[in-house]
């Protein structure tokens, strides 16, 4: 492990959505701030900065984490995936995103990226979850607009129809990165 000094900026290199990137950051910088303001990936949102609301959830090496409870230096050398990676390069939504649209599972959309990333991870490991399992994972996120019912419906549909979630499980990777 590399030693870093508290008051000095350090170069942090990571893979963001399949692209190798690097930027300078203080060791105390949160991963959420690094992604948004250091790397320009503003799709990840910050809602509470104390790990409750889930809006800032991203994948680090395929596992959902709260980027507000993670330091940027902890992502050094890792693969980080954010909401910007989900749609195809031509903008076509993936099955999970499309299910959210078809079920009116978002209103203001601020909490949505975190929920999408949590379930990108979860559905890759559990392609055919029960509704209770979906609700348990979703209970790690706060949404103030929808009352949640349509989010549950969207995830159920995505889980039942999405080949992408299964291919994620098999390959552990995203087609975009191939």
């Amino acid at each position: 492990m590399r030693a870093v000094k508290g008051d000095q900026k350090t170069r942090i290199a990571l893979t963001l959505n399949g692209r190798k990137l690097a930027a300078e950051a203080e060791p105390r910088l949160l991963l959420s701030d690094f992604l948004r303001h250091g790397l320009g990936a503003t799709g990840t949102h910050v809602g509470c900065e104390h790990g409750v609301c889930g809006a800032c959830t991203v994948l680090v090496d395929g596992v959902a984490v709260r980027s507000c409870l993670t330091l940027a230096v902890q992502a050094e050398g890792r693969e980080v995936r954010t909401v910007e990676s989900l749609a195809a390069p031509d903008g076509a939504l993936n099955p999970l995103q499309a299910a959210f649209r078809d079920h009116h599972a978002l209103q203001c959309g601020f909490c949505t990226p975190g929920i999408l990333m949590s379930f990108t991870d979860f559905l890759s490991r559990t392609p055919h979850p029960s509704e209770a399992q979906i609700r348990e994972v979703l209970s790690g996120h706060l949404c103030r607009c929808t009352g949640y019912a349509n989010i549950v419906a969207a995830i159920k549909e995505a889980a039942s129809s999405s080949p992408a979630s299964r291919s994620d499980a098999e390959e552990g990777d995203h087609p975009e990165r191939a």
Binding site: E26, R28, L29, R36, A41, T42, G43, T44, H45, V46, G47, C48, E49, H50, V52, C53, A55, T82, V83, E84, L86, A87, G91, L93, Q97, F100, R101, D102, H103, H104, L106, Q107, C108, G109, F110, C111, T112, P113, L116, R135, E136, L138, S139, G140, H141, L142, C143, R144, C145, T146, G147, Y148, A149, N150, I151, V152
Partner: protein, 801 residues
Amino acid sequence: MMAQQTKIRRKEDASLLSGRGRYADDLPVPVGTLYAHVIRSPHAHADIVRIDARRALAHDGVWTVLTGEDVRKLSDPFLAAVKTPVQQWSLAVERVRYVGEPVALVVAESRYVAEDAAELVQIEYAPLPAVIDPVAACAKSVPLLHPQAGTNEVSVREFRYGDTNAAFSRADRRIAMTTTFPRLSFTPIECYVVVAQHNAAENGYDVTANFQGPFSMHPVMARALRVPGPKLRLRIPPDSGGSFGIKLSVFPYIVLMALAARVTGRPVKWVEDRIEHLVAASSGPNRVTQIETAVTNDGRVLALRLDQLEDYGAFLRAPMPGPLYRMHGAVTGAYDIANVDVINRVVLTNKMPASLIRGFGGPQLYLALERLMHQIAVELDLDPLEVIRRNLVAAQKFPYRAAAGALYDSGDYLRAVDIATGGGRLDELKRRRAAARAQGRAYGIGFAAIVEPAMSNMGYLSTLMSKEAREKAGPKSGAVSMATVNIDPLGAVTVTADVTVQGQSHETVLAEIVADALGLRPDDVEVVLELDTAKDQWSIAAGTYSSRFASGTAVAAHMAAAQMREKLKAIAAKQLNVLPDDVELAGGKIRSRSNPDNALPFGRVAATSHWSPVLLPESMAPALSETAAWTPPELEPPSRDDRINTSLTYGFVFDMCGVEIDPVSYQVRVDRYVSMHDAGRILNATIADGQIRGSFAQGVAAALYEEFTYNEEGAFLTGTFADYLVPTVSEIPEVEILHYESPSPLTPLGAKGLAEGNCMSTPACIANAIADALGIADVTLPATPRRIHALLERAGEAGER
């Protein structure tokens, strides 16, 4: 028109789902932007003895530290709706009056540096005794928040409609109760964001903020900054991460960051964090209501008396005390009650200032009114539903003028109630209650019937002035809604409007409305809703609040599109060689009605004003941009006898639910919930139900979970999401949504508001069900396990005596 039952595809969604939203903190800032951090009071009430910022100013990267003294020199106090000697600035001056009150602002090259430097600012306070309880705050002997006001009870108004005393003297029974509505917010997941710039050469401010309106606050901000309105350019980003009323209260920070930009000569950005948001952003006001009714033995309400004491915290910010007056004309709710006396009292305490939150006065009123209706049934040994039914405004009375002045535009309340309770729904609830009770479980049924106002009369607040003062100040009334339809050089259509985006799908619905009028598909219409006060159409009523969209801006868009359509028909008539009356717009074409083959593409006709204006019919102005301003005449100023039509449209909501209380954990579980809505004509069924579900979740939150709590010394006890309990998916029960449509005769679209109803009805409905389950009258919200336990302990002790 286009009530769509099929799955919709919102125009908003593709971007939001792809991380391509443009929320306030996502937007690029000018090179050289500085970042601000607010230092807040740890005391509920204290004099500021000394602020020493020298060490902070010596810290690398720090540009300035502003204090109340700077703000007092550079700005004027905020104008308020109620004239009192109380002054409020964007930072505390001389004294702090609530935990979390902004005391100083550190401006530095980064947010992290600003927070480091904040720890170096030394502030010495001399603590004062705090006043927290609103009833106690009215006593003579308590400390005053604002000694110059001479009292904490800064506004008291009495209203009399009909002959309440006579009704009380002839009634069979009097029934009274006291309800308290808690403090809460709906905490949007995106907090406040402000980016302010100052151009010293022009003494002009340019501010981007996720402010939600109403834009009646724009002159308040401009006056505080001592500039004419046009010198405060306010821009609202295209996306906002929820608001629910809360983002009105970003306005003091808009002024504060504007001053910081002026002092530093640099753009200044501030992003509120969650801890700041919970402690000091905004709260709905808590209210203590004493309500009393004169009834006949068969449950007919002859008269009401309400004494409403509303706690606005440390300051009465404009446009407060809105929640006390927004419902005023409709204070009798869904009931036909001719006699009502109201006392409205405003008290200040050492809590964060209260302001707009979704429901805005409705939850407080209906908790009192609907708990009373339930209690009437209990005391007269009647069926609670029957008491509601006997008092509802009858269908043949519409349009109905309520005692305090509201003009209920349409409805058939009894019919809506019958539909909701029919279909075996109520029978099933009763079966479930009987089965649970047979096993010794605590199960109750509750009802609530409410009127849901939409599109506020901007003059309603003047009801709190005496009629003499109103006459002196000049009439205030009405509400303007504005929208513009534009045509580009290839005939493509764009729409702008006077709303702020917060997730209500305005882009989708406006596209549907305008496309419908122009014979296009919604995908053909671009809607751009970022608002810029320097360039867009707006009035003081602009913004997204008080459910003004369906009855207001949607109508303006419909009118603007109709204006454009009529012009295009005249232009096409000349090109098609037919009379304008024979022209129709359909399927992307403009064509002869009698000979549809005689047609031109929409874009070709629409582009005429760009490329060939000489071809326009004589005396026609080019059809490039049509703006409509909709201002319904029914929103009259308060009458001489204090009657006020507070809103334009009045929907109806009837809820019923069954709840069960766990005998071990005392958790209230909502077993079944049915919500019937008459919101006039539904513009888009999917979006309507989405709004209702969201409102319902917030109603459940208010009933069972969320509360801002303070201890007796004024310490704030709910400063994180671990203490302030926002419901997750596990806490929100299923709701069966029903609709009954009584189109409003007062708007061309017939649509009413529907996004606030359950914030108003659900807390009362659940409280009634808890009262029924436990056989008690005193239900305090939120009905947490701890409260339920205490209630049962008290009831048990009373039973033993």
